[in-house]
């Protein structure tokens, strides 16, 4: 999986934030120990991008297996989906045999099992992942990635909490961090006043990369339509309107 920016924004650069660096270190550590990690935080803060970036630089044949489940999945669903993701084969065996097959598969070569929206997991599923993670022959590590409430759900299970080797909690960027980050994020902001960036962050960005990506794409298209070469307040306010603020936004 190649890391990609939200909406495939052209010209966007990878911004080396503290959270990205922490995620890279955490993923490297759990890979080295074949351990369990948790990455959590609100939507749009760059968790998925950070994990994709971190796994990409692992090297040594590491393969990422991304899984996502609906709310309250069953152990069997997890076993079926995980086996399919590992082998490309949809098996309808009972979950006990599937579990043995999965364990054999996880012993073959290094894989990072990434469970997205991990807050949807229930106790049974956590037990199941714990069981897979206890196999002495495994060459895999597990990363649970989740949004709001993820850590609250996972930390309620002692069997999981005690096994978490690395945890990164994503938070929105503060105003100072935003000023530095967005200028490195896209060329559109390179010669823009700080006040305008603060305005955009207050009304639209909120220190959230996904919001900034939406705004940037909209602003770039508006600039192109109106022959502007850089972002100004008029473009910004029109973008606010298109992004849900309506006429006269901000």
């Amino acid at each position: 999986v190649k890391p990609r920016h939200f909406l495939n924004l052209d010209g966007a650069a990878t911004v080396e934030t503290d959270f990205l660096a922490l995620t890279r270190r955490a993923v490297a550590d759990i890979a080295a120990r074949r351990a369990l990690g948790v990455i959590h935080g609100a939507a749009g803060l760059g968790k998925t991008f950070a994990v994709e970036t971190a796994i990409e630089v692992l090297g040594d044949g590491w393969e990422a297996i991304w899984l996502g489940f609906p709310s309250r999945p069953t152990m069997r669903l997890i076993a079926v989906e995980l086996f399919a993701a590992l082998t490309g084969s949809h098996q309808h065996q009972d979950r006990f045999r599937l579990t043995r097959l999965i364990k054999a598969e996880l012993a073959v070569h290094p894989r990072m099992i990434v469970v997205d929206e991990a807050q949807n997991l229930n106790r049974e599923c956590i037990e199941f992942l714990r069981h897979l993670g206890e196999d002495d022959n495994r060459r895999s590590a597990t990363l649970l990635v989740g949004g709001d409430g993820c850590w609250e759900v996972l930390s309620r299970e002692p069997m999981l909490r005690s096994r978490v080797y690395r945890r990164v909690s994503f938070r929105p960027l503060g105003p100072e961090q935003v000023l530095g980050a967005v200028r490195r994020f896209h060329p559109l902001y390179q010669e823009v006043d700080d006040d305008l960036i603060v305005l955009v962050d207050c009304y639209c960005g909120h220190g959230n990369f996904r919001n900034w990506a939406s705004f940037t794409l909209t602003a770039v298209e508006l600039c192109r339509e109106h022959g502007r070469v850089r972002l100004d307040e008029q473009i910004a306010r029109n973008a606010f309107a298109l992004l849900g603020g309506g006429v006269g936004a901000a």
């Binding site: 009972d94 043995r100 097959l101 364990k103 199941f128 714990r130 206890e134 196999d135 069997m159 096994r163």
Partner: protein, 410 residues
């Protein structure tokens, strides 16, 4: 120690991360410790039996590959006895249906093993009765469990067999080709084997300086004995080349030719620890026994009386097997006893219950070899016209030659 008559020890380990790692270190079938990690929420004996078998080193899919799933629990019970498990540890026992505890207890009792049920959820544990069915539950902690388990024996340094390819030269240039073509380390390994075989051959009493030999069979029998302990075809080849050179130095020329492979004969498959280890990953008793007996060169017509009496079943042919291979035959003895077999009854029977004949024995052995993925190791020849199969080589002729002095000086 826990009494072995319907008792089990419940080990309360709320934070079992550390205990899990310790159990992984202690789990070693050679010391009689099997640690079962059941799939969570398992509720039937048939579903948990594969986990018990895997705790004894069985292949993860052995039951399905060998089509033995309906007998899974019985086979788990048999193997616990055959492998002489003394401590049966069930990790996360609170995540399996509680009525399985009685089954685990029966299993352990039949094998004469202590049963340890590790639970992490203390709130659930408190609601567990102190007596369950016929099983009296004793409560303990992780420290007591670890103290009771024998320490794992460190694995010996792995033996790296002299694998092919080796130079295809005949004995006159074999050693010099090895020196030219192999890396220094690899040549040193080859030469150590070569020198030992050369010295052993040169020291044979039946060799005279005059190069007189009693018969073709004398040389062939000696070469068979020399290579019997070879752990790989490469080692066998090096020994043969060294012996040829040593014999040539006393005017005896031995010619060897490659033997055709024969899939049902395993005469040259030494029952090494690695080979036995592969066979022990199987679960079907008769296949394991046939594979081991065939590799050991035993007769297929063995009767129960030939292989063992008493509980230990370790006399006769079993006693002659290396320790690491004994469970392979022991499990068949136990299985046959369960079928009611007595002393004069055959050890191996076919599908209709009559004594297995040579062909059926060969098929069983070949199937065991195939399932244990030992096919690559097996290269052998059917004995014919007095020739000895020597790891894929046949002695084709032995004769006397006039040997230059320089060869004698080797």
């Amino acid at each position: 120690l826990v009494p072995r008559d319907g008792h089990a020890t419940v080990v309360v380990a709320p934070d079992d991360e550390q205990l899990g790692a310790e159990l992984s270190r202690c789990a070693q079938i050679g010391t009689g410790v099997a640690v079962v990690r059941p799939v969570p929420r398992v509720a039937t004996r048939g579903d948990v039996a594969p986990d018990v078998l895997m705790a004894m080193g069985k292949h993860f899919d052995c039951l399905d590959r060998e089509r033995r799933r309906p007998r899974a629990w019985d086979l788990a019970a048999l193997w616990l006895r055959a492998e002489r498990v003394r401590h049966l540890v069930i990790a996360h026992a609170d995540h399996v249906a509680i009525f399985l505890w009685q089954d685990f207890s029966d299993l352990a009792r039949a094998a004469g093993a202590d049963l340890w049920l590790v639970v992490g959820d203390t709130s659930r544990s408190r609601s567990t009765p102190t007596v369950m069915g016929d099983v009296a539950l004793r409560w303990s902690d992780a420290g007591s469990l670890l103290k009771a388990l024998p320490q794992a024996v460190p694995d010996p340094a792995p033996y790296r067999p002299l694998a092919m390819p080796l130079p295809d030269d005949d004995f006159l240039t074999f050693r010099s080709s090895c020196r030219s073509l192999l890396s220094a380390d690899r040549f040193a390994e080859v030469d150590e084997v070569y020198r030992q075989a050369y010295r052993r051959t040169a020291a044979q009493e039946w060799i005279t300086d005059a190069g007189e030999i009693e018969s073709f069979e004398t040389v062939a029998t000696y070469l068979d004995r020399l290579t019997a302990g070879a752990r790989s075809l490469g080692e066998c080849l090096v020994q043969l080349r060294a012996a040829q050179a040593a014999l040539f130095a006393v005017s005896i020329l031995v010619r060897l030719s490659r033997a055709p492979a024969h899939k049902h004969v395993m005469a040259s498959l030494a029952l090494t620890e690695a080979v036995a280890g592969r066979l022990r990953r199987l679960v079907t008793p008769e296949l394991c026994a046939a594979g081991a007996l065939s590799a050991a060169g035993a007769d297929w017509r063995l009767r129960m009386a030939d292989v063992g009496r008493g509980r230990n079943a370790d006399i006769g042919i079993v006693a002659s097997l290396p320790m690491h291979a004994r469970p392979l035959v022991r499990v068949q003895i136990l299985a046959r006893r369960l079928d009611g077999a007595k002393g004069p009854d055959p050890l191996l029977v076919n599908t209709v219950g009559t004594p297995a004949n040579k062909t059926q024995f060969g098929r069983m052995a070949a199937r065991a070899v195939s399932l244990a993925t030992l096919g690559q190791t097996v290269e052998s020849a059917p004995p014919s016209r007095g020739a000895m199969p020597l790891g894929g080589w046949l002695v084709s002729s032995v004769g006397q030659v006039s040997v230059p002095e320089i060869t004698r000086a080797q």
